[in-house]
């Protein structure tokens, strides 16, 4: 793994159970990146941590199912506290349309592979943490992550893996709009 170059103080909150391999790997990745992190079992606990860290530049990482509790309200609270969310949706993508849209509308990153978390961190550390207002909100340009868009295009099925797969996170290539995502999900 390449150590992410840091030019910004970033804090992280990881939401999930400590038994979850994705959570353990993410905590480990954050440590390798020198990013201060805390583990919260659920979004309720995470909200308290967010409020305590208000004003800091941070990221909340967790599975989409965990972060989208309470009708996606957590994404708004995180965003309001200056944190950007990064959610993993590695299964049943087609069935989670509403949740994906809730996340993306608040400027969250949605990834379909755990490995993409590192790329999101690199983006955040290089680009100034939470996304600017013009990148968020309905009617504005929204960001889908490469593998997520790819999965949507393949009908929610897992795409090709390994070298065949376009897993490299290139935000600009997948910059899309809410309307376009609606069309993709509807397809």
């Amino acid at each position: 793994m390449t150590k992410v170059a840091t030019n910004l103080k970033l804090q992280a909150i990881v939401v999930g159970g400590s038994a979850d391999e994705f959570v353990r790997n993410t905590m480990s990745l954050l440590e390798d990146c020198g990013i201060e992190s805390v583990l919260c079992e659920d979004v309720y606990s995470a909200v308290g941590k967010l409020s305590a860290k208000k004003g800091a530049s941070g990221v909340v990482i967790g599975r989409l199912g965990k972060l989208s509790r309470e009708q996606g309200r957590f994404f708004h609270i995180a965003s309001g506290n200056g944190f950007v969310c990064c959610c993993l949706v590695d299964k049943d993508l087609a069935g989670r349309r509403r949740q994906v849209m809730d996340a993306i509308e608040t400027g969250a990153f949605v990834v379909a592979e755990p490995a993409e978390i590192e790329e999101v961190l690199a983006e955040l550390l290089g680009g100034g943490g939470a996304r600017s207002g013009e990148q968020k909100g309905s009617g504005k340009a929204l960001t889908g992550i490469g593998s997520v868009v790819e999965k949507i295009l393949t009908g929610g099925q897992d795409g090709p893996s390994g070298n065949d797969r376009t897993s490299k996170f290139l935000k600009s290539e997948f910059l899309t709009t809410k309307e376009e995502l609606d069309a993709l999900f509807g397809a």
Partner: protein, 358 residues
């Protein structure tokens, strides 16, 4: 409500009260609450966020609609603020509210108290104020600037006594008829919405008049108390048990959220009668324990003489209202009596005693 009419909230100077959840289900005067300066967060996550940023004297949490996430949310509130937490429970949620108040988290109870709703907002203020009666705040509130919320410990104690008198049977300590009816009505409404089952057992003590006549009414009272202890011991914590008449008792068996989510075990039915097997098992255990009970007051005659006759009715199978369920269960009870007593009949299955069900 104008600023001058706003109540003086208990708590430290400048602290307010935060309410979370659908307050229209909890308060008769919900419309006036927001106008009165009380902060309201419909969503639990927003409430935790608000509580972490701002100091509140107390937080009222509407339990309805929170289901399984409530414990996690309450723990998060505890971690992030010092406010007192009062659960706003429907009658059917009282057993769970009691559990949460009794449960410990980091050396404190998960919630400080609960209130059965719907109530007026002033009732919550009264309940909250007793947390502060022993603090310097009491002096502020009691020193001539007493607001509607300020009550002393003696008043609070009286209120609790009145609540108890209104809902409990003083002889047995079980719930009274009024409570059983209201609880049943609420739990059936909830069962209709959430596709759950409710089972009602109505029973009375066989030959109580005989014991009263032979040994006197104090002996009859002792029998009723003994029956109450045994039925309560046999039931699950969340089942509601009451004495609804002289020697007549009722038990309301209902599915909690956890049991419903539990899958196959909670979905088991009696093969013969489509009644929940859990309720039948509990009733059978109760009948057995009753038969084994020793009643010293009755002397040599006091062992193995206690028996009951009952009727068991289930929602939605045997009725869609509490009146229908009671009518059906009473009918089955009478059939059990006519058939020789000491048995519990299932509604809709004439001569079907629960002891015949495996």
């Amino acid at each position: 409500m104008g600023a001058a009419d706003r109540p003086i909230y208990p708590g430290r100077e400048g602290q307010g009260i935060l309410l979370t959840g659908d307050i229209s289900t909890a308060f008769f005067d919900a419309d006036d609450i927001a106008a009165g300066g009380c902060e309201v967060c419909p969503n639990m996550l927003d409430a935790i966020d608000a509580a972490a940023r701002k100091s509140f004297a107390a937080i009222g949490v509407v339990m309805s609609g929170t289901s399984g996430k409530l414990v996690s949310a309450l723990r998060a509130l505890r971690e992030n603020c010092d406010a007192r937490i009062v659960l706003l429970a429907q009658m059917s949620e009282e057993p769970r509210a009691m559990q949460l108040v009794g449960a410990s988290y980091n050396g404190r109870s998960v919630a400080d108290d609960y209130l059965i709703c719907p109530v007026r907002f002033s009732a919550l203020l009264t309940r909250i104020s007793h947390f502060f009666v022993d603090t310097a705040v009491r002096d502020r509130l009691g020193g001539g600037a007493v607001g509607s919320a300020a009550v002393d410990a003696a008043t609070e104690k009286k209120i609790r006594q009145l609540e108890k008198l209104a809902t409990e049977d003083d002889l047995t300590g079980l719930k009274n008829r009024r409570y059983i009816w209201e609880f049943s009505r609420q739990i059936i409404e909830r069962a209709k919405k959430e596709d759950r089952r409710v089972t009602l057992l109505v029973f009375d003590v066989d030959n109580l008049k005989h014991y009263n006549d032979l040994y006197g009414h104090p002996a009859g009272d002792e029998i009723l108390k003994q029956v109450a202890v045994l039925i309560r011991r046999c039931c699950r914590n969340h089942d509601v048990v009451g004495r609804i008449g002289g020697d007549e008792f009722a038990v309301v068996f209902w599915d909690t959220a956890q049991r419903r989510a539990g899958g196959a075990q909670s979905e088991r039915r009696s093969a013969t009668a489509d009644h929940p097997i859990e309720a039948i098992s509990i009733a059978k255990r109760f009948v057995k324990e009753l038969g084994d009970a020793e009643l010293d007051l009755l002397g040599p005659e006091g062992k193995g003489v206690l028996a009951i006759s009952g009727g068991l009715a289930s929602f939605p199978r045997d009725g869609s209202t509490i009146e229908e369920l009671f009518r059906q269960a009473d009918k089955a009870l009478l059939e059990a009596k006519r058939s020789g007593k000491n048995r519990i009949y299932l509604v809709g299955k004439p001569q079907s005693d629960i002891s015949d069900i495996d």
